[in-house]
């Protein structure tokens, strides 16, 4: 139902209509409608995957625990759906903070010591980040309230920003970048992400990695047009530096990962960096690439975690070294893992290839040769870092797993559903989606 409503909102936005529910509180523009669509799609597919996945875990014999899982799942989804449609900045902060509070118990769902440690680390570090973001929001509010009577919304801030002291804007931006950057997993604030995104149940990982980080990045990107009012902030340079740092660090960390769910988690850090760099390149083509990369990341990363979940159910281990010759022991998991690996690494004809290519092309066109060269180098390192272990897992000498269950029907249904945009968007971009991307890209600039 929510997916249908989101598609309807996306169509209305793409056709140029204004979607407003409560003036100054709840509304949606191009960027908001795009993120809303992504959250709904991944939420829907992950819900289908949860069905079969939970029946194969230890929680299957505990119906009360499964009911609690779904209640938390829906509330977590609510918080992520709220982020792109709340136009009041303080409410956005609350929604982003709620995404942590409502998902921390999903991370610890399997109740192992590693899962509990990951949940604590996730909760503490992201709440610390939220405190920084709150400081930034409060400083910004102070600036707005001393400058005039504008409402504390994205539109109000964009109008009022030229009359706010650049010093206040700069200070608030730094707090917001650190605060929401922690949540988005930007280096060096990323340490919680690989733990949380590898210990949570796979459908939750799909949500955390596919869309939760995107919603946090959405919050950062929203401030770009506001902060462009003060050229002395050099917001685009900050984006490029933090973005390249994230892509580079993740690329080198990918090479030494021993757990395949962590592999995909590190790839999330890489993708967040790529989006930030693209936003910082400044040209409209690069902004378009940034929004396209948001879609590509969300659909492909969720597919990767569904493939990882299917592999985990088949092989019973998260260790790369413990899974070999999957193509013979579990062909469905092997094919899904291979497609997921190729797609997320950026191989053609998948959607990530097209979005990364458009960003690199925009980088060259706008004269950012060094940035583009570094980005290309890091993407190539990450490509090898992802595909070498996956190749060994799929085609290596088979290890027979003792009495492993077969792949569930819901896993196959989810993999097919989630795989459609991964393939399709790499070959063809529908007109309304192109228009939505264009509007979303326009929201990133003044």
């Amino acid at each position: 139902m929510i997916l249908i409503l989101s598609i309807r909102i996306a169509f209305r936005t793409a056709s140029g209509a204004e979607v407003v529910a409560l003036e100054n509180w709840i509304s949606s523009d191009g960027l908001g409608a795009l993120v809303l669509l992504l959250v709904s799609f991944v939420g829907f597919t992950a819900a289908i995957f949860s069905w079969g996945y939970l029946e194969r875990t230890a929680a299957a014999n505990n119906p009360a625990k499964i009911r609690r899982y779904y209640a938390r799942y829906n509330l977590f989804l609510l918080s992520m759906l709220a982020v792109p449609i709340l136009s009041h900045v303080a409410l956005l902060w609350i929604a982003v903070e709620l995404t942590t509070l409502l998902s921390v118990f999903l991370v610890s769902f399997e109740n192992t010591s590693e899962a509990l440690e990951a949940a604590w680390k996730y909760g503490v570090l992201t709440c610390l980040g939220a405190a920084f973001a709150l400081m930034g929001v409060l400083i910004l509010y102070w600036g707005v309230s001393t400058s005039g009577k504008e409402a504390f919304t994205w539109q109000g801030l964009a109008t009022a920003s030229s009359s706010i002291s650049p010093m206040l804007l700069k200070t608030s931006f730094l707090f917001i970048l650190i605060g929401f950057g922690t949540k988005a997993g930007l280096v060096p604030l990323h340490t919680w992400l690989p733990d949380a995104h590898s210990q949570a149940p796979s459908p939750v990982c799909a949500l955390l990695s596919g869309v939760e980080t995107t919603t946090a990045l959405y919050a950062i990107l929203r401030f770009r047009p506001i902060l462009q009012a003060a050229p002395s902030i050099y917001i685009d340079n900050w984006f490029i530096v933090f973005g390249l740092l994230s892509v580079g660090t993740a690329a080198f960390l990918l090479v030494q990962v021993k757990d395949y769910k962590r592999l995909f988690a590190f790839s999330t850090i890489e993708h967040m960096g790529i989006i930030l760099v693209a936003a910082g390149l400044g040209s409209s083509a690069a902004q378009y690439g940034a929004t396209f990369q948001m879609i590509s990341h969300a659909v492909t990363k969720s597919f990767c975690f569904f493939a990882a979940g299917t592999t985990l159910l088949s092989a019973g281990s998260r260790d790369i070294i413990a899974v070999r010759g999957l193509i013979r022991t579990s062909p469905v998991a092997a094919i899904a893992l291979m497609i997921g690996g190729l797609a997320i690494a950026g191989a053609p004809p998948f959607t990530v290839f097209l979005s990364e290519f458009s960003i690199l092309k925009a980088g060259i066109a706008s004269g950012h040769y060094l940035v583009t060269a570094l980005l290309t180098l890091f993407i190539l390192i990450a490509f090898c870092g992802i595909l070498f272990p996956i190749n060994r897992m799929v085609f290596g000498k088979p290890i027979e797993f003792a009495d492993r269950p077969t792949v569930t029907t819901t896993s196959i249904v989810t993999l097919v559903l989630a795989g459609i945009p991964v393939f399709l968007l790499g070959l063809y971009l529908p007109g309304p989606l192109h228009e939505l991307l264009r509007l979303a890209a326009a929201s990133l600039g003044r």
């Binding site: 819900a47 829906n74 609510l78 759906l81």
Partner: protein
């Protein structure tokens, strides 16, 4: 109104999924809601 429904439906579904309605009740309610 669509935006309001988007905020209301997950709360309703979260509440409904807590009701013990069969082994797969919570899964079905969630999938239908989303």
């Amino acid at each position: 109104m669509d935006l309001i429904y988007i905020l209301i439906i997950p709360v309703l579904v979260a509440g409904l999924s807590l009701i013990p309605i069969g082994k797969r009740g919570a899964s079905i309610v969630t999938i239908l809601g989303l």
